[in-house]
């Protein structure tokens, strides 16, 4: 096991260092978004890695203090662009927890549908990113192209491809359009077919296996302590999923499995994600099957005058990258006192990444980052 990395004191040292500095980002094809990893390399082995963030700091949490409870949604979905729905859902649920507002059953099912569709879409991007980082660009072309079908569903349901602002406190913004269920099922049929193609191209590929097995290993016994969450944690062989452990919406009424894989390397994480795509499709089918009819929205009062009781709430959601959560604190006014977002990448992208990269090969940095699901806007907000 690698030694725990401790930031060195002599950062201000003016002597020329021995190790070569490589800047991976912010302008770099291999970086996942706008962030920077400062690599110190000797040969092609990394001796030290420092994540630098802040290129995307838009002060969301400051701005949300200036918006009322509902206006926050325009900002919320921009927290993490590939998969904005879990953030919206967390926020809506946190508000509901604080206010004690009931949500209709149908709305809960629709939320689950949204979350799982978002999960699928995000996995499609991950397919592209993970393979792009290893040089298999065909996979990215396929999966990102197929992701458009999911975005089409979003577009029909919510009006937006990427940003939905669909899940609101008290339910969802609008009901299914006519024939939407069929479209969802058709899309799922198509994706199931495609996922098999992906397996052929990616998981059955000897080079992919060679490149990913034994790279970026997270030790199982340290994983929870290091703050590893989501598929990355399940890739270490630990069965942990907020959908099961701390169930929200209607996940406890749905039948699905939480896949795990042993090893803690990129390959194990990829295996977990491979299964999760299938589980998501299964959940979506169940949602379409089980969704009750009825009201989809428990209306909130005039947002300009809508106040929440003093107190705070914290809601967590299982996103693709892992656990995301929203903490809100209210002082009893029409605007939040504090909204604080917890992203998985906040841990994965900084301390965990810095830790994992030491001793790895330069060639694997991008693959490791992609397998951890580092998403810089989530770190910087």
């Amino acid at each position: 096991m690698k030694k725990y990395l401790i930031l060195q004191k002599n950062i201000q040292d003016k002597m020329r260092e021995k190790a070569t500095t490589l800047y991976l980002g912010p302008q770099h094809p291999g970086i996942t978004g706008n962030m920077m990893v400062r690599l110190k390399v000797e040969g092609d082995t990394i001796v030290k890695a420092t994540t630098e963030v802040g290129y995307l700091h838009r002060a969301f949490e400051k701005l949300q203090e200036k918006r009322n409870w509902l206006q926050s949604f325009t900002l919320l979905c921009r927290f993490c662009v590939p998969e904005p729905d879990p953030v919206e859902e967390s926020y809506a649920r946190a508000v509901e927890l604080l206010e004690g507002r009931e949500v209709p059953e149908r709305a809960k099912y629709i939320r689950v549908l949204m979350l799982e569709l978002a999960r699928l879409g995000s996995y499609m991007l991950w397919y592209g990113g993970q393979n792009g980082s290893l040089g298999l660009y065909t996979m990215g072309q396929w999966s990102v192209g197929d992701r458009n079908y999911i975005l089409d569903l979003f577009e029909e349901l919510t009006g937006g491809r990427i940003y939905h602002m669909y899940i609101w406190p008290g339910g969802v913004r609008r009901d299914f359009p006519e024939g939407f269920e069929d479209k969802v099922l058709r899309t799922m049929d198509y994706l199931e077919k495609r996922v098999k193609d992906y397996d052929d191209l990616m998981f059955d590929n000897a080079i992919f296996q060679k490149r990913t097995q034994g790279v970026g290993i997270i030790p199982k016994e340290k994983a929870v302590e290091w703050g590893v969450v989501g598929p990355v944690l399940r890739g270490c062989g630990i069965r942990s999923d907020i959908r099961i452990d701390d169930p929200y919406e209607v996940y406890d009424k749905l039948d699905f499995e939480v896949p795990t894989a042993e090893g803690g390397d990129i390959w194990a994480r990829a295996l977990v994600r491979r299964q999760e795509v299938r589980q998501s499709i299964k959940i979506i089918r169940q949602v379409i099957e089980k969704i009750p009819s009825g009201d989809y929205y428990n209306p909130i009062p005039n947002p300009q005058k809508w106040t929440l009781p003093k107190g705070d709430a914290y809601a967590r959601t299982e996103a693709v990258r892992g656990e995301v959560g929203i903490f809100i604190a209210s002082d009893g006014g029409t605007k939040p006192r504090r909204v604080h977002f917890r992203g998985a990448a906040y841990v994965h992208g900084i301390t965990l990444l810095e830790n994992l990269l030491v001793g790895e090969n330069v060639a694997d940095v991008s693959a490791i980052m992609n397998s951890l699901g580092t998403c810089p806007p989530e770190i910087e907000r």
């Binding site: 302008q27 706008n34 290129y55 990102v144 192209g145």
Partner: protein, 181 residues
């Protein structure tokens, strides 16, 4: 011999035609708009059929795509990258936030008007612009290039002092090699 002026015209026409159909976009996702770049490049929208293609380093790139809001920290890098690009070079402002700050109008860390800091050739509005909008932005840029009107780099060169003044207002700690074009 051909008249100098006419031959220059023909050469310009051919060069602009080539530039128009070969747009190498610098791989720099400065903001959240970068999420619509992969769909634009991949199978459904396939920008490569217009000659749009990614370039890894600024030395090889033609177009700097500012995908959304620019924080002050990123602005510094963007300027650095822009100045390392080789003429002729173009800037596309992407999304409302580059035009007027968009929803970040009151944020303390993002710039609101991109064209005060960099010469923007084409703005694409929307938050965020759909791939179709991005493609239409590229088409607009192609049109401008063909007409020889996409001369932001020249504007930057001519008004360097003015741009520098604006930039240095935001970036107090200015340590960069001089721009010597």
């Amino acid at each position: 011999m051909i008249n100098d002026k006419n031959s220059q015209k023909i050469v310009d026409f051919i060069q602009n035609w080539a530039r128009k159909h070969s747009i190498w976009v610098l791989a720099y996702g400065t903001g959240c708009g970068a999420i619509e770049i992969p769909p634009t490049m991949t199978s459904r929208y396939d920008a490569e059929r217009l000659g749009v293609r990614g370039a890894a380093t600024p030395r090889q790139a033609d177009v700097l795509l500012i995908t959304g809001y620019l924080t002050t920290k990123t602005l510094k890098r963007v300027i650095r990258v822009y100045e390392q690009m080789q003429d002729p070079k173009y800037v596309i402002g992407f999304g409302s936030c580059t035009i007027n700050g968009g929803m970040y109008y009151d944020s303390y860390n993002t710039i609101k008007v991109l064209d005060k800091y960099l010469p923007v050739d084409v703005y694409i509005n929307g938050c965020m612009p759909r791939p179709e909008a991005v493609l239409s932005g590229f088409a607009k840029l192609q049109e401008l290039i063909a007409q020889g009107k996409a001369n932001g780099a020249q504007k930057y060169k001519d008004n360097l002092d003015w741009y520098r003044e604006n930039q240095k207002k935001i970036i107090p700690n200015w340590v960069m090699p001089e721009y010597n074009w």
